[in-house]
Amino acid sequence: MRKIKKIKTIKDLEQSIHSQIQARKSEKKPVLTVSAGTCGQARGSLKVIKSLEKAIKEQNLEDKVKIKVTGCHGFCEAEPNIIVQPINIFYQKVQPKDAKDITSETIINNKVIDQLLFTDLATGKKISSENNIPFYKKQRRIILGDNALIDPTDINDYLSIGGYRSLAKVLGSITPEKIIESIKQSGLRGRGGAGFPTGYKWEFARKTKGDTKYIICNADEGDPGAYMDRSLLEGNPHRVLEGMIIGAFAIGAGEGYIYVRDEYPLAVEHISLAISKAEEMGLLGKNILGTDFDFEVHIVKGAGAFVCGEETALIASVEGRVGEPRQRPPFPAVKGLWGKPTNINNVETWANIPLIIEKGAEWFSRIGTNGSKGTKIFSLVGKINNTGLVEVPMGITLREIIFDIGGGIPGGKDFKAVQTGGPSGGCIPKEMLDLPVDYESLTKAGSIMGSGGMIVMDENTCMVDVAKFFLNFLRDESCGKCISCREGTQRMWEIVTDIAEGKGKKGDLEFLEALAKATRDASMCGLGQTAANPVLSTIRHFRDEYEAHITDKKCPAGVCKELIQYSIIAENCTGCLACLKVCSQEAISGELKKVHVLDQSKCIKCGACYEACNFDAIKIE
């Protein structure tokens, strides 16, 4: 591997950024950028890359085209995808067999391959350019957008999009106080969940007396179905690193830690590589760029405990103790890691910093609403057509995210609710679809912004079942220190499970609410204080569904096994044997072209027959 030249002064850094930008501009070769984040790799992007390389070699195109392996492009539904630059053609769901066509048609003949283009579900039209795809159109990808431009393992590639320019600016001419002032002015709030104003957090840490201070990047992303931080660390690690260096300079910290879960091997690999490259280049270490500012970064791998995302538990874990929260105050800004002033921010928060420095606080504060500035990345998952990471300006409505960007619900089904904020969040019903997405509105609706998970549910989702799922997660992930949280989540889960199994009694709901409120009030850390949200928000918005389970012993959505029954509608049954073949319990009997019969005593309610039937002849009651 080529050795990276050490940069000794700020001027040298500016110069090399300039020359890298020029090099990118003068690059005439078309570039095939293949998304190869964890999600892309899972869908086979590594195989696509291999076959692309082979095709290029076979057709002798080595001098005419370049392959760039990048992080996640955000559109998971279309993985693995390739963007042909600079003409900006978006090919989705590329298979290894398509590699030859891409090189021979698109590269040599300059033709667009129609069958690889994205088809608009609403109009049925093929769309060639990334920017015209509805999924991307309404987004404002100020952070995620760079993922598609750079090779995350190459520091020079980051320089070529103007990376580390903010660092040069900061070290060259801005005092720490001024940096904090502009972060305050920008209105940036923590992206990890609670939404505390970042500038003020930095100021506390800066003002606390002490020679040794630390900063920590919280990459312990644990919400089910959320992967914003992973995609940033995988796709643009230097951006996070740059934010951290600027933050350390502003706060006066000499050491930084990145607490990342070990379940993210690619993220760990990329951020480790980024740190070593930055060290080689002289952007980390002693006397950075000839100034008297020293800063080094270490990686601590977490073992995947959800509670370690809570800052005091995280600190305990970094120190090598059991990840259990402690009382705040004293806040980490006063007494944090090893008892020293510490500032903890989420990955996405750090990634916002270089942008604010580069473009100015005023530019940043123009995006978003009064109380919530900037953009937010959400992972849009569940019953939605366009699964993926979406970056939207604050204040956009849920309807826009789900229906315009997300493309609505698959199979023409009805939207029922959206769960935001992960297990500590709540469910927001259909009636509130026009709710603007910002910190205050979501809290008012009984949910939270959280780190940005967004799980969409359709009419076939049972809200009691949803509450049960999240409570099961929480009772497992509670650290167990406070009796309110440990026993509260466990007992709530027991009651909800009883309701889901048809053993609910009158008065259970009121008791559940009282217990949920006590859990929220009595717990020490954020986990316990928000653990009641899945229960309280589903009861608040879907009380009738709970009552149907308790009084009528019916599950309206047809999910809770104990309360449903599958049966065959004789008029619709054509006797095709499809259901009979899939039934593992041999509960369905019948002959070809004769109406089948379902034996209830054998049925385990797996739902396989329901899925297999093409004539709507199986009904759930």
Binding site: I483, S484, A518
Partner: protein, 245 residues
């Protein structure tokens, strides 16, 4: 000197004191359970909850861990505090219904029913024994295992710990108590001293001298009792006779 208000009363505190310390000094009663003067603060039982702040921005915190802050407004018996506290007692009772200490708390604060399924674990995981072992006895023989609903207190790998000196400090401080000797059961008992080394008990028990309170429960002395061993021998002999016949 820090000044703060507790239940409307102007109080003064020193740096490093908690709300509970101040309240105790002024004679304001706050119930506690996992708190002990000689041990570090833990904040796990949530009984010492108090309400801080002024409406509408109030929250509940555990007074044993929350430091006294300048200008803090504290109320120890609001409706919110009482409701949360009662729920905590109810939860504890469902875990250790036989504990005298928890029963007393329940009767004092008017908890008249347990609406949860009784689990009878005889442990509420207040952590007093763990802290006692580590901080006062310098033993560190027991600790927490697992998290969430699987959390429990035991020795490493659930086997007899070499660090345990059988001082009994854990038993002494336990309000619940699971750690009280459960007999020579190698899988679950914490000390298992009766199986692995010389018994700490007397050979022949005396009701007053047995420090296990529950005479004979650990099984050590019963094993030594002559009548029992004789009766066993008799039984074996009779069995052999039957076989021979």
């Amino acid at each position: 000197m820090i000044t703060l208000k507790i239940n409307g009363l102007e109080t003064r505190a020193e740096e490093g004191q908690t709300i509970l310390d101040v309240a105790k000094f002024y004679g304001i009663e706050i119930p506690t359970l996992c708190y002990n003067e000689g041990l570090s603060r833990y904040g796990g039982c949530r009984l010492c909850l108090v309400q801080i702040g002024e409406e509408p921005r109030t929250k509940l915190v555990s007074s044993c861990t929350y430091p006294a802050e300048e200008g803090l407004v504290v109320r120890t018996d609001t409706k919110r505090v009482i409701e949360a506290r009662k729920m905590m007692i109810e939860l504890m009772l469902s875990l250790a219904p036989n504990s005298k200490i928890i029963q007393d708390l329940a009767s004092k604060f008017g908890v008249k029913q347990v609406r949860f399924k009784i689990r009878n674990e005889e442990c509420i995981l207040c952590g007093l024994c763990v802290r006692m072992c580590a901080e006062q006895m310098d033993g560190r023989a027991i600790g927490f295992q697992n998290r969430g609903y699987k959390r429990k207190i035991s020795t490493p790998f659930d086997i007899r710990s070499e660090e345990c000196r059988l001082c009994g400090g854990c038993l002494y401080i336990c309000p619940a108590c699971q750690l009280r000797c459960q007999g020579p059961d190698a899988d679950t008992a914490v000390c298992n001293a009766c199986l692995t080394m010389d018994p700490t008990c007397l050979d022949y028990y005396d009701e007053l001298q047995c420090w296990m309170y529950d005479v004979g429960r650990c099984g050590t002395c019963i094993r030594e009792k002559p009548e029992k061993s004789k009766s066993k021998e008799k039984a074996q002999k009779s069995k052999q006779k039957e076989k021979n016949a």
